[in-house]
C-alpha cells in the first residue's frame, strides 16, 4: 500500500535519532556521519533494523547533511552517498517505508547570508534526484529554521520527483524558528506549496512542543507530524544529555496524538526504546479527523495577516502610474526610493503592500524580483505582487518568501488558464477582477456572475475559496455615476452569497471631481458597511485611515474602542497644524541634524532658488563644515550621519521638485560602490554612499557580496569614472584585489578607491587601488578630485 493511502488514516511511526546511535557506536566529532553509508554500511543497516524491529513504519536515511557544500572537501560525491544510504535503508526496511532525509544546507540564505534561492534549489535538487532514483518512498525535509530554504527544497522535490513530501521545522521555546517563522505562517506557506504532511522536530522536548503543536493543529488542513528531542539538552561537561526517558516521552506523545497529531517519531536523544513505546502504545490509536479550516491569510516569512472580520489596508503607493518621481526611480533602478515608500506605508499602518513596477522601458521581471528581494530584506509586511504580465507574476511569486497575493486575474478564459496554475503551484492568494472578455459589466448581478465563474474555475485547479479575493472594480463617479452603487451591491452579494473575501481600489471613485478626499472616505465607509474585506488605498491618507478606525468602532470590531482611543486620545484636532513657519536656515538645520526642519526649509528655498544653487550654496558648505568638525574630532560619526540624513531629506524634496518641474537633475558624476564578493559587512560602504549622494554624486550601489563580473559590467555599461570598493576581512580583501585586476584587465580607465577595516595605504597600493580612504569623508574628497575637471 502506498504511504499516501495510510496518511491521515493510521498513526504512522517514524524512527528516532541516527546521530545519537552513531555516537554510541563510536563516531567522533569532526567525522561526517553520512560517509558511514560507504565506510560502515553494516552499522547503518543495523541501526535501521533496530528501529524497524522497534515498530517504525518509516525509517529515515542517513543523509541529513549530504549536500554539495558539506561534501565539497571530501572524496565522495553527494550522489554516491545518497544512493548508498537509500540502498541500505531499503534493505533494512523490507515492506516498510524509506524517507530520504534532507536537512538544512548549513549556510544562511540571502539576505542574511550569501546563498541565493536558486543555488539552494539546485543543491536540494541534486539530493532529491539521487534519492528518488535510488528508490526512496518519501522526501523528508526536516529541522528547518528558514522558511525560504524550505520553499526551495519543496519546489525542488515537487519539480523533480513524484514522491510525497513531508516537512518539519524546528522551533525555539518562544514559539518561533531561529529565523523568526511562527506556526501559522509555516502552516499556510507549506500547505500552499502542497506538502503532504507538516510539523515540528528537534530543538525542543515533547512537553515544550505542546503549545506550538497546538497552534499548528489549529490551522493545518493536512496531517501533522511531530518528532521532538528526548527533552531539553543538558551539558554535563563531556556529553549532551537529554532529560526525558522513554516512558515520559510516550506520555506526552500520546497527548499529542490525542490532540490530532498523526505522524510521530523521535529526534536527538531518542533510541529504539522510545520508538518501541510509541509503536506498542500508539500505532493502533485512532487518528483524530482533521477539521477543514478556511483561513484567508497572507504571509511574509515572519508575519501572517489574516483577511477576516477586521478590514485590511493594502498600501497602493508602490506603483509608477501617474507618479513622475516614482517613474524616474524605476528607470534609474533606485530601489532605495521604493523601499522608502514601503517603510512610510508600514509606518502609516498598512498591513500588506501592493508592489507594481511596470514601465514599458524596463525589464520588469528582473526589476520586480530585485525589488521583492530588497523589500523582503528590510520589511516584514506580506506583499501583493502586481503586474499585467504572467511571467513577471510567476517569477516573483517563485522567489517570494512567504505566501503572497497575486494581483490579478480576471474572468476571461485566457487569464484564468494562464494564472491559476501559478496560484496553485506556489500556494498564493489571488485577486479576481469582475470583468472578462466583454469588459466590465454594468450591473452588480453580472459582476457576481463573473465572480462565480472565477471561483468555480479556480476550484477545478484545486484553489480554494479562502485564497480568492474578488475585486468588484470601482468606477469613477464623474464618468459612470450610475454604476458606482453597483460596485457596492456586488461587494455585498459576493461577500454574503459566495462567501469569499472582497477588495476595492477605493480612490478611483473620485477621479476628476473636486474635494476627492470627501468622496473617497464616504465611499470607503459605504464599501466597508457592504462587507469589504480589504481596501487598496494610500495609507498616508489620514482621512482614509481614520475612517477605517471609526468604522471598526461602529461595527463593533474594535472592542471597547480600544484601538480608537489609543489612536485619538489626547490628539489635537486642528486641521492644517502643519503650516509651521519655515524660518530655519537650511545650513544650520543640516549642521544640527534636524530632519523635519530640513523638509520645510528646503521647500521654502525652492520658491526662490534654483535646485543646483541650493546644493552649492547651502548643502555643500554645511556638509564641508560638518566634515571639518568630524576630522577635528569635535563631532563624531553619529552626528556626521545625522547631518547626512538631514541632507537626504532635503534632496528628496529637491528631486520631487525637479521631477515635477522638468529642471535639470543634479549629478556631479556617477560612482559605483560595492562591498566585494564574499563579504557582507557593508555598513562602511553605506556610510560612504550616503555622504557621496549628499554632495550630489549619483551613486550606483551594487550592494554586498557583489560578483567581480558585475562590477566590471556595470562600470562599462554606465561609463563609470570612479569605483569605491569595501571589504572587512582578510579573506575577502583577496576578492577586492581580484576585482581591481578584472577592472584593469577589461581596459577600463576608472579610478578605484578602497576602504575597510583591514586595509592600509600599503595594502591598497599593493592591490593596485588608486586611493585608500580611511573613512567616508575621505571618499568624498577623492570623488571631488576625480570629477574636478
Amino acid at each position: 500500500m502506498g504511504i499516501l493511502e495510510l496518511l491521515g488514516k493510521n498513526i504512522l511511526i517514524f524512527d528516532g535519532a541516527m546521530g545519537t546511535m552513531l555516537q554510541q557506536r563510536g563516531i567522533i566529532a569532526g567525522e561526517i556521519p553520512e560517509i558511514y553509508n560507504i565506510t560502515h554500511p553494516e552499522m547503518i543497516e543495523d541501526i535501521h533494523k533496530m528501529y524497524i524491529e522497534a515498530g517504525a513504519d518509516i525509517i529515515t536515511t542517513n543523509t541529513f547533511g549530504a549536500n554539495e557544500l558539506k561534501f565539497r572537501d571530501t572524496i565522495y560525491t553527494v550522489e554516491e552517498i545518497i544512493k548508498s544510504a537509500v540502498k541500505i535503508a531499503r534493505k533494512a526496511a523490507k515492506d516498510k517505508y524509506v524517507a530520504l532525509d534532507i536537512g538544512p544546507i548549513g549556510q544562511l540564505m540571502k539576505p542574511h547570508g550569501v546563498l541565493g534561492f536558486h543555488d539552494a534549489y539546485e543543491i536540494f535538487k541534486n539530493q532529491i534526484v539521487a534519492g528518488a532514483q535510488a528508490g526512496a518512498d518519501i522526501i523528508l525535509i526536516e529541522t528547518m529554521s528558514d522558511l525560504h530554504e524550505v520553499k526551495a527544497a519543496v519546489l525542488a522535490a515537487k519539480e523533480n520527483c513524484t514522491l510525497p513530501v513531508f516537512c518539519t521545522m524546528t522551533f525555539q521555546q518562544h514559539g518561533r524558528t531561529l529565523m523568526g517563522t511562527d506556526p501559522i505562517t509555516m502552516v499556510l506557506v507549506l500547505q500552499g506549496l502542497g506538502v503532504d504532511a507538516l510539523g515540528l522536530n528537534c530543538s525542543l522536548g515533547p512537553k515544550e512542543s505542546l503549545a506550538i503543536v497546538d497552534e499548528i493543529l489549529k490551522y493545518s488542513n493536512i496531517p501533522v507530524m511531530v518528532q521532538p528531542n528526548a527533552g531539553l539538552p543538558k551539558y554535563d561537561g563531556t556529553n549532551t544529555i537529554y532529560d526525558i526517558n522513554s516512558k515520559e516521552y510516550f506520555q506526552v506523545m500520546k497527548q499529542l496524538v490525542e490532540m490530532g497529531v498523526s505522524i510521530i517519531g523521535g529526534c536527538c536523544g531518542t533510541n529504539p526504546e522510545y520508538i518501541k513505546q510509541l509503536s506498542v502504545g500508539l500505532s493502533k490509536h485512532q487518528v483524530k479527523q482533521i477539521e477543514r479550516k478556511h483561513i484567508s491569510g497572507i504571509c511574509s516569512s515572519t508575519k501572517t495577516v489574516l483577511i477576516d472580520i477586521e478590514p485590511v489596508v493594502i498600501g497602493e503607493r508602490i506603483n509608477p502610474t501617474g507618479k513622475k518621481r516614482f517613474k524616474e526611480a524605476v528607470r534609474n533602478g533606485d530601489i532605495d526610493f521604493i523601499i522608502n515608500e514601503a517603510i512610510q506605508q508600514k509606518k502609516s499602518g498598512a498591513h500588506i503592500l501592493d508592489v507594481n513596477v511596470g514601465l514599458p522601458e524596463i525589464n520588469e521581471k528582473d526589476f520586480m524580483i530585485n525589488v521583492i528581494e530588497e523589500l523582503q530584506s528590510v520589511i516584514d509586511l506580506p506583499l501583493q505582487i502586481d503586474s499585467s504580465d504572467a511571467d513577471v507574476l510567476e517569477a516573483a511569486t517563485r522567489i517570494y518568501n512567504g505566501k503572497p497575493i497575486i494581483n490579478s486575474v480576471n474572468g476571461s478564459k485566457k487569464a484564468m488558464e494562464e494564472l491559476f496554475p501559478i496560484v496553485k503551484k506556489y500556494g498564493a492568494s489571488i485577486i479576481g477582477l469582475t470583468m472578462d472578455e466583454r469588459g466590465i459589466p454594468q450591473t452588480a448581478f453580472e459582476r457576481v456572475e463573473i465572480a462565480c465563474k472565477i471561483i468555480e474555475t479556480a476550484k477545478t485547479y484545486g484553489i480554494e475559496k479562502e485564497d480568492i479575493i474578488i475585486d468588484c472594480l470601482v468606477l469613477t463617479a464623474s464618468a459612470q455615476q450610475t454604476e458606482v452603487m453597483e460596485t457596492i451591491k456586488a461587494v455585498h452579494a459576493i461577500k454574503n452569497q459566495l462567501g469569499v473575501k472582497t477588495v476595492l481600489g477605493v480612490s478611483n471613485v473620485s477621479y476628476g471631481l473636486p474635494n476627492r478626499e470627501l468622496l473617497n472616505r464616504t465611499y470607503l465607509t459605504m464599501a466597508l458597511y457592504a462587507g469589504l474585506s480589504a481596501a487598496i488605498i494610500n495609507p498616508g491618507d489620514r482621512d482614509m485611515m481614520d475612517t477605517m478606525k471609526a468604522y471598526k468602532v461602529l461595527s463593533n470590531i474594535d472592542e471597547k474602542a480600544k484601538g480608537y482611543i489609543e489612536a485619538f486620545h489626547g490628539a489635537v484636532h486642528l486641521k492644517d497644524t502643519n503650516v509651521k513657519k519655515a524660518d530655519y536656515d537650511l545650513k544650520q538645520v543640516i549642521i544640527d541634524g534636524l530632519k523635519e526642519e530640513a523638509i520645510l526649509s528646503t521647500k521654502e528655498l525652492l520658491k526662490s532658488e534654483k535646485p543646483m544653487d541650493i546644493v552649492n550654496f547651502y548643502i555643500v558648505p554645511a556638509l564641508d563644515l560638518v566634515g571639518q568638525k568630524y576630522e577635528a574630532k569635535e563631532l563624531f560619526l553619529p552626528q556626521l550621519m545625522q547631518s547626512a540624513e538631514t541632507v537626504k531629506q532635503a534632496f528628496e524634496i529637491i528631486k520631487n521638485f525637479i521631477a515635477d518641474s522638468g529642471e535639470a537633475t543634479i549629478n556631479r558624476g556617477e560612482i559605483i560602490v560595492a562591498t566585494v564578493k564574499g563579504d557582507i559587512h557593508d555598513i562602511g560602504k553605506n556610510i560612504a554612499k550616503t555622504l557621496l549622494e549628499n554632495y550630489g554624486f549619483k551613486v550606483i550601489d551594487l550592494g554586498k557580496d557583489v560578483p567581480i563580473e558585475e562590477v566590471v559590467d556595470k562600470a562599462k555599461h554606465h561609463h563609470i569614472k570612479l569605483i569605491g570598493l569595501s571589504a572587512l576581512m582578510t579573506t575577502t580583501v583577496i576578492n577586492m584585489h581580484e576585482t581591481i585586476k578584472a577592472i584593469r584587465k577589461a581596459g577600463l580607465t576608472c579610478t578605484v578607491m578602497v576602504g575597510g577595516a583591514v586595509l592600509t595605504q600599503e595594502y591598497a597600493d599593493m592591490i593596485g587601488a588608486d586611493y585608500y580612504v580611511a573613512d567616508a569623508n575621505e571618499s568624498v574628497k577623492v570623488a571631488l578630485k576625480a570629477f574636478e575637471e
Binding site: T170, G237, N686
Partner: protein
C-alpha cells in the same frame, strides 16, 4: 530585560559603545537618545544564543589536537596560548539573525541610527561573551580547581579563520543557535563570536594582550589614539 533566556543583569556597556563610535567625550543629546533606543531594542530581542563544550587537548609547538575528535587546530600562536592547558572550552555565541535584520532596516532608513545600532550590537555580543567566559571560569574552578586563559578566536595570530567551521561543527552550532560560516569564513549572523579558552593552573596565569594578535594593530585607530578597542574588533 536580559537578551538571553535565563541570563539576568546582562547590560550593554555604554562606554564601550561610545568608544566604538570614536567618542572621547560625552555624546550629544541626539546620539545619546539613539543609543538608548538601540540598547533597549537589542536587550528586548530574544534571539541570542550560545553553546560551549569542554575538551581534553594535546598541545605541541604548532598544533592542538582536540582529543576524541578529528579536529586539529594549527598554528604556533594557538599552541602558545594553550601551552599550559590540557583542557579547553570551545564556545560560540551569536546575537541572532533578527539583530542583522534590524541593522539592515536602519541601514536603509537612518544611517545615523545604523552606526549607533552597529556599535551597540558589538558591545552586546562582547557582553554575551564575557558572560559565557565567566560561566566557563566558574566551571573550570568548580570542576577542576583551574583558572582560564583569555578568549582566543580563529584569525588571531596564525590560527586560520577556517577553524571557525570546525568549531561550529563541534558545537552543532548551526542547528542549535543558527550560527554559520560562509565559504570565506565570515560568521553569519554578523554579531557572532567563536573562541577557545584554555584551562590553566592559577600559577600560569599571564596577561595576554590581544592587540599583538590583531592584524591591524599597526594601523588601528583606537591604538593610535592611545586607546584600545576592548579586543572586540580584532581583525583577522
Amino acid at each position: 530585560m536580559p537578551f538571553i533566556k535565563g541570563v539576568k543583569n546582562l547590560h550593554i556597556d555604554k562606554n564601550e559603545v561610545l568608544r566604538y563610535l570614536g567618542y572621547r567625550s560625552t555624546p550629544d543629546k541626539l546620539t545619546e537618545r539613539l543609543m538608548d533606543e538601540c540598547i533597549l531594542e537589542i536587550e528586548e530581542d530574544k534571539s541570542a544564543g550560545y553553546e560551549y563544550k569542554v575538551f581534553d587537548i594535546e598541545v605541541t609547538t604548532d598544533e592542538i589536537t582536540i582529543l576524541n575528535t578529528l579536529i586539529r587546530l594549527s598554528g604556533s600562536d594557538i599552541s602558545k596560548h594553550l601551552k599550559h592547558s590540557s583542557k579547553c572550552a570551545i564556545m560560540a555565541a551569536t546575537l541572532g539573525s533578527s539583530i542583522d535584520s534590524r541593522l539592515r532596516y536602519y541601514k536603509k532608513t537612518d544611517i545615523a541610527k545604523a552606526c549607533v545600532f552597529d556599535a551597540c550590537a558589538s558591545a552586546a555580543i562582547e557582553g554575551v561573551c564575557d558572560y559565557i567566559e565567566n560561566k566557563i571560569r566558574l566551571w573550570a574552578f568548580e570542576k577542576y580547581g583551574l583558572s582560564i586563559t583569555s578568549r582566543y578566536s580563529p584569525g588571531y595570530g596564525n590560527l586560520p579563520l577556517s577553524t571557525q567551521g570546525h568549531m561550529i561543527g563541534l558545537l552543532n552550532a548551526s542547528i542549535r543557535i543558527g550560527l554559520t560560516a560562509t565559504e570565506n569564513y565570515i560568521l553569519i549572523p554578523s554579531k557572532s563570536v567563536t573562541a577557545i579558552i584554555g584551562f590553566i593552573d592559577k600559577n600560569n596565569e599571564e596577561f595576554n594582550s590581544s592587540c599583538e594578535n590583531c592584524n591591524i594593530s599597526q594601523s588601528c585607530l583606537y591604538k593610535k589614539g592611545g586607546d584600545y578597542c576592548g579586543h572586540s574588533r580584532i581583525v583577522r
